[in-house]
Symmetry: D3
Subunit: 283 residues, 6 copies
């Protein structure tokens, strides 16, 4: 090899050593069930490049990304057009990650990619609970005749874990049925004064945090397929996230970045920052 | 015809039945007096396509767009370069709509398109009042020597209805004279604590709501010709709108979406959502 | 209805009368197997809007689009993520079109959409031959483990009709195996001096013309998923097309326009012009 | 003033001295009659900035822009929405330029801006002839009911000078009537072998050259409102232009650059180069 | 000269008279040390064009830009690739401005351009203090081995004036060391309740205000090289600025606008508005 | 590690084995001396991502990229703002590559990056000759007072190797002096009929091929800082390149791709194809 200096090809702060890494960053460039605007397949590779515009240090948490040891595994390769095979590739990779004693940090891709990961988690962590940040409820029974879609993903997960093990934050779009379901099942946490009550759901459970970036307002996160006005600022998101301090977080993902709708690069920079803050938070 | 399934060519939730429709959506793709950046002519066709990314349901109002019966008439065709003929085409269409017992919901195009509509309304509703959402006062006596322009439109309307029948919300840009005029005539409502006083202006009157989308902050509504920082969020806009609950609303328009300055599509999605919320509000 | 004048919502020159139409324009907004850059789903709706920038008249053919009677059926609606169901919706629509005595003019979408159409044609025209314009051979046995993909579509068609019934024009990209297959099977027509020999393949057969727009050079057709330098100009394309004068053309499609990669709109305008010229050619 | 060095605010190579200048460069940022895509109003200011990316020297003509003395007058200011007043501002400026013994070099804006300039020229040069480069015939009697439009401009000019004093080059789009008119009146020069015959039209006459940039192929000139495939390369354009060597050229314009459709800047750079070559050609 | 009317080539509201001008607007189109995304070199010329979309009047301050007399000197010309020569050109221009009894209003370009200006100021105003608005601390000792960079500029300035003469507002990104330094030296003002204490730093001193536009949130200021979520709105910025009412402000700059990342033009419009408000504030 | 399947992070076809590689691909993301439009720093990383849209096989050469063994070393890291240190980092990397018995394949970045590479080559190959593809002569003595710039790079190289060892192809822009110099020194090869004469210059010499991508026409290569109409098509470029069959090619680079001016991605795809063809050509 040449002596360089060369720019790294991995995420900023990533370790070169798989063995000692606690978290594994895995890109899932899939956007096959998205009915509106595709392009989240470009999320993982673009956010990695953008990570090099970040500082190592988080003033909000007074910690550095180097305080967490994580490995950047790269992007999985999928057979486009075949949703089911794609999902099984993801499930196998997540299961392997867990079997090696690591935690999964997924980077989407569309939100459906969370489903096979939770399937894998349930085998190792049968009592897992989900914290779900999103603009959309993702609770439909089916969408355009399909039961597996980015519009149904949380319903499929609830089918497996039950409504009492999910907390939904930021939801501001959905069908009438989805909102009624959330009300009936008390899954929606829309007011911080009720946080203690919600945290009881997580008591003693391993926790998976799934962040659909469109939970953020389109003013700062235009780069997503279905922008929905009325969302959180970055500081509001962080203050919600930090409420989960002390929980037993064993997995996470950040999904739905669609770089082609982020002409300025500001959404991608923010997605990278969200990932940095989450990794630091988990350290 | 083929049995499909085909995607509709009309606005989401639009009725196929003109007769039973209460509201008529009419596109007015005109941007001829705009001195700065043109392109609002593309507003109506683009926002229609974007409407298919919306949910039917408004969580804010707990109603669906199907609760209002409206017809999508499509876009009027104009002779570009001839402002006066364009305005008379609009006026005739609005008059015809009213004569058929329907209410007009215009989609701009630039703000000048509101003027001929109000002319038509005055014949049927001589005591009509206007609620005007905008970043700009639009109250100039003339602009570049022209008395009919998107910078003078509200002044021309006031010439006909008087200052006591207009409420202006969100104005944050104009000449010194325009701001003095608003102060003298008490047309500017910039504080919700004064809402009751303002509503007295509307008492017993039919009301027309005209929304220049640049009343929203450019962070969420960059897709407009003259972005003006310091505007409303979507939630703030909705909370202002809902203050007019119970008024006798007989017409409305939403203008100044300029899709070429909305590279991400987020402004257009928001414009569609504003129209959805207004239609639901009127049901 | 209002008396207007309103802009039409259909393709320029389209008839309002399904019955008397000979050709049916059908949008197929599918891009699910595309491994590289998605977005051809936006092709049909965008090219329709662009058709209104065209003249009715073709100087090259000295005819007008009004000389052909065609109907604009709109876009089919697909369940994203489910390729097989999508293909069966297309096949059913094509079969219905043929059963009504009409000819199919498809607008893609990715190239895989041609496959179910040919399946339908084979039932009515068992001896059909294909003229295939493309930059890519589309002759792979499989792609990323899938046998149905936009990279395999012509191989799947050849599986049904045999190599002697296909003429390939403009191919300049593929695997070594694909180029060897074309050489062995003499399907590639890369020199106009050999046109007479090639036309013998079509003798007495009904002909389907399938145009992947990337056969055109990226300089004028950047708006496609996989731009491949070294292609045809528009005039060269037209001169190839006109060689098929007098053939019994019974179906056609134009695929792979991806408007998000056509920032200037020039590719979309050209796609509309190609469709206009083909419709006029078929009249 | 400060001693700098400061970048000039004028066109590259422009003289600071109005008096000694032979040519006057005047921007006409008007796009009011354009029915399709507006934006040529941004042409003049954008092409000036781009001129600073040019070399002074033309290898094709082996001359420098400094060999011609020209003045950059800046952009005229127009009352948008009022076509007729706009045209009279242009006419007055052109008449003044001629009265001062200078030649006009207009930069559009849409093609209608040529009309008032020719009106002014006819007063000083009643026998003027026109060389018209364009993709479109611009020969309609009226367009959308209007007789003054960028689609009718050459017909209006022909009304004044007669068909025998115009040469049209590059026309490839129009109505059937326009093409028949061109054939009847032999105005279209589509083959260089007929150049001598065409030059006879100009014998002894002062000549005005009007270049609609869409005469160039959209592959290199996407930045225009109505791109029309099948046009000239830059080298082909130059070889046509140089055929007019030795003619008595007394005025010119270059119109229809629409920078918002030139995302890469390549069209604008080419427009600047066309203007440079024309100025050098006139020296 | 022609009688026009011509659009001005200078900033809106700029005086033609250098002598009577109090402030001199100078563009510094340099972006040579920027390691992330270049393009601030296009800031000055773009913001000048955008200034023509502004009103003269500030409702927030109830004053007009005409209330301040300023001269638009244009952009300095730099030898790209030679940072040190570039800085000395700026220093000389700033020194000349001061020697003529004027105040400098710089428009960047990257933030490093502030350094030579402060060097010039220190010769005339040795006790000058700095108010520094920014998202980034810019306090590194070195960056990629370089001591002069837009990431080190405030450290270099502090080397000359000491930490007690700088107030930093809006900082939300930096290294651990930079944040520790700010804490140790109490330079960060992050809470308005501490404003009186901070103003003591300025007592009796001439003040230079340096605004890195990325202090604003990327939602309204995406057009910058290193967008950092969590910033100020325009109204928040203005309320901070107005706290400095009554200070002896003798110089200012506004830097880091990068128009290529401002596809909608909203950031550039805001940058122009910030400059307008500052000029009015200084009158 | 996980078993995947993962997408590679290197160039398509790159070997994982440095030792057995003959060629080393090195990115040089530098654009510091570019006076017009920066952004070539994004070239190397973007073209690598785009390489995954290519086929392995070249129909023009009937070979595959796997027929050449090359290593993708990644991008060098530079101290922006310090041109001289940047050049010495490149020189050292090139020298190291040569000392290990490998050949250098550089990916720019601006054209100045070729200079330090040639300096390194001259130590190992003192009789090296250059084949220079470019739109611009790059032969200035100095540019804006600087002797080291992308506008002077070939003059600096000629200073070292003499005019008799350089062949220039495609040059169509420069100063009068540069064109005179090329004529005097007979370095410009603008006609293939003179190829044999030109090849004599190379007889017995090792050859370095330097391709400035703007030698291609802006219609297919808009993604460059200084687009210059009148250039080559891809097929013309290839036919020039293949003329050098049988030469002793020991090094190469491809420079001046500026992805931010390639909104459609077509230029980047072409740049990747040019690199593929060159690598295959060298095998």
């Amino acid at each position: 090899m040449l002596s360089g200096p060369f720019l790294p090809k991995n995420w900023i702060g990533a370790s070169e050593d798989f063995k000692s890494s606690k978290w594994v960053l895995v890109g899932m460039p899939y956007d096959g069930t998205c009915s509106n605007r595709p392009g989240t397949r470009f999320g993982p590779e673009t956010v990695r490049l953008a990570s090099w515009g970040l500082e190592d240090y988080s003033p909000l948490q007074n910690k550095e990304i180097n305080d967490v040891v994580f490995f950047d595994a790269g992007e999985l390769e999928f057979p486009f057009g075949n949703r089911d095979k794609t999902l099984s590739i993801i499930k196998r990779a997540a299961a392997e990650t867990l079997s090696l004693g690591k935690f999964w940090f997924g980077v989407g891709g569309e939100h459906l990619v969370t489903y096979p990961v939770i399937e894998a988690y349930l085998e190792k962590f049968p009592d897992i609970a989900i914290v779900h940040f999103d603009a959309h409820a993702d609770l439909r029974e089916e969408y355009l005749g399909e039961t597996l879609s980015h519009a149904t993903v949380m319903r499929r997960i609830v089918d497996k874990i039950g409504a009492e093990r999910i907390i939904q934050i930021g939801i501001r779009s959905g069908t009438k049925e989805e909102f009624q379901w959330m009300e009936t099942n008390k899954t929606l946490l829309d007011d911080k004064s009720r946080i203690q009550e919600a945290l009881k759901k997580l008591a003693g459970r391993p926790v998976f945090i799934s962040v659909d970036l469109d939970v953020l307002d389109p003013s700062i996160m235009s780069g997503t397929g279905t922008p929905e006005a009325g969302g959180m600022t970055f500081n509001e998101f962080m203050s919600w996230l930090l409420e989960f301090k002390g929980q037993n977080i064993v997995g996470a993902d950040v999904v739905e970045l669609s770089p082609h709708y982020d002409q300025s690069g500001a959404s991608t920079a923010l997605a990278a920052k969200v990932i940095r803050e989450m990794l630091i938070f988990f350290s």
